[in-house]
Symmetry: C2
DNA sequence: TTTATTGCGTAACGGTATAACGTGTGCAAT
DNA sequence: ATTGCACACGTTATACCGTTACGCAATAAA
């Protein structure tokens, strides 16, 4: 169903529908936008979306963009390592590019340790303008 | 009034009240928490808080924590350089430690450039456990 | 005085997220 | 068979976050 089929998780009907909406979108979607898109499929309440999203995030199939209050399908094949994902969010077109960088992950760990802080997860979200929008 | 008095900005009455609430708090506050604290000072509506917060963020006296939907007084003396601030947010006590790191700022810039992305601002918020809470 | 700017206050609204309740189904262990 | 449990689901209600729209008052040019 997705590029993450390897994970071998079995998705429920609702999870499949939400995953489909995110996969076919070309950018991050809010929970309520997903709800609207799935009304014809029987979705009626926000909680149906949030429950599916919680699981999809847990499975690593979906990322939550904190600074956007939105969700995006993972496009990265090797994002298994937690907390290493960086998002480049274009202010113009709204799309989010997903990248990883070991040097940043390492340095964040070092900074946290230096502050006697037990790092669990990292949110790194950059704002700016993507190449396509700058050219236009 | 704050450690940023050097900036020499004149705060309005509402801005002063909101700044005071954030300065005397020992952690991030949501806009609605600030509103509740300032009801006795005449605050009645969220917009009064948000208008003040917008200006305080613009002046660099306050930071917004995207992953928390909350605001915190800047405790860092040299955070003038935009986008270099990193927050370490303790999941246990809710406090936020503010640090800067030139290596990360530089590397983020490099990563963005490599993706042909024109970087404007960076949000870096780490979750984990602070030293005090881990010891307890 | 006229005009523009800025801050302020009120009300109404829309977007985000969770709480609390009950239902049904599949799958052990008894 | 039945009991207990885990899990997904559906519904309603509510709390929390943030903005839009409108009008008023004080201040600062012009
Ligand atoms: Zn990913
Ligand atoms: Zn773009
Ligand atoms: Zn600061
Ligand atoms: Zn702590």
């Amino acid at each position: 169903m997705t590029s993450h089929a390897q994970t071998g998780v079995d998705l429920t009907k609702n999870q499949t529908l939400v995953m489909g909406a995110l996969s076919s979108a070309d950018g991050p979607l809010s929970a309520y936008t997903i709800l609207d898109q799935l009304r014809d499929d029987g979705f009626r309440a926000p909680l149906q979306v949030y429950r599916a999203l919680d699981k999809l995030v847990e499975f690593g199939l979906v990322h939550r963009l904190e600074s956007l209050n939105a969700f995006v399908a993972c496009r990265h094949t090797e994002c298994g390592d937690r907390g290493q994902t960086i998002f480049l969010i274009c202010e113009t077109c709204g799309k989010a590019i997903e990248v990883t960088d070991k040097a940043i992950a390492r340095r964040l760990k070092t900074v946290a340790t230096g502050a006697l802080f037990a790092l669990q997860t990292a949110t790194v979200e950059l704002r700016g303008t993507c190449d396509a929008c700058r050219a236009a």
